[in-house]
Subunit: 217 residues, 2 copies
Amino acid sequence: MRVSVVENILGANEQIAAANRELFSEKGVFAVNVMAGPGAGKTSLIERTIEAVREQVRIAVIDGDLASTIDADRIARLGIPAVQINTGGACHLDANMVRSALDQLPLGETDLLFLENVGNLVCPTGFALGANLKMMISSTAEGDDKPYKYPGMFSAVDVLVLNKVDLLPLLDFDVGYFRRGVEALNPDLAFFAVSCKTGEGIYAWTEWLLAERARRK
Amino acid sequence: MRVSVVENILGANEQIAAANRELFSEKGVFAVNVMAGPGAGKTSLIERTIEAVREQVRIAVIDGDLASTIDADRIARLGIPAVQINTGGACHLDANMVRSALDQLPLGETDLLFLENVGNLVCPTGFALGANLKMMISSTAEGDDKPYKYPGMFSAVDVLVLNKVDLLPLLDFDVGYFRRGVEALNPDLAFFAVSCKTGEGIYAWTEWLLAERARRK
């Protein structure tokens, strides 16, 4: 009985995610589900990406957090359409939350849509949003053992961005150990090392993202 | 119907948590539920605390992670009894996981027990473990806006340790903004700023912990 309840919930989410995906396809929107632990730099990477590609594509952002409008306010300050979802207690976005937010965005004038998930390395992977691309951001400050401890997230995504590489000289972070852990889980994963603070590595990431959008849509 | 299923699960957890609490009381164990986002420094703070107080109290550790034995191995290398719980997919420890692990520890010879939760700033607050003290660790590298985005965790704990203060000169982290967010949620919270890397602040934290143990037990 309990299992069937859970199956119904996930089944409903999958259906709404499929409807979101269809809407994205119809409108020519390339949607990216951005996942990471708290404070790894999801909003910062979205800001850097906006700066880099806003002349080439029209961007919109949906920000998910338990509370506050901090992230959507940051994006709106750049003149980019942004909607904040407050999940209350929920530890992840789901397809229906995204669907509700889509009504408030000019989808017909959007080429690239970021769905910034709640900061959490576990729960978001269980809930499809209908995105075209699933990405995760790791922070060097989180330590090099994260692929070994959170294999589900590292296995579930198409691209991994390692942020805060400007801190590497101060940290005991073994990049080889980190990457071996990632490759064992997900050998085809695209990988970029960046610093949202200094801008290092951002160009390689945004060029790949634009190419991937052109290839997948 | 769905709500009643959830209530049953939480009810069962509360009952087992109460039994754990009773067992801790009977054995003279002071148990600490250690919560934080991924990579904030839970294991590092436990290691530093072991170094500082192992002459005064007998310590044991239960480490929760989705996968791997990395954390329990680190603790065991210090000669401290440690049990690793692998939750599989679960995003938090629960009282029954802890109970199962307790059988493998010498509780009669333990004064201080750390229950290191899964790295997650949302889900662990919903599941009591029977601990005497609930603590959370924030990392400066996560950013100063975390109290505003994850109010549930900051409201639920007795003590907050801000780790990685050695990185502050490199970060845009406003300690006043962070602390104002915390104080609005939880004005009675004990607060310590430390660096597990340099050892800064560790003495104040461990002195408080030992005093709190003496006061509460």
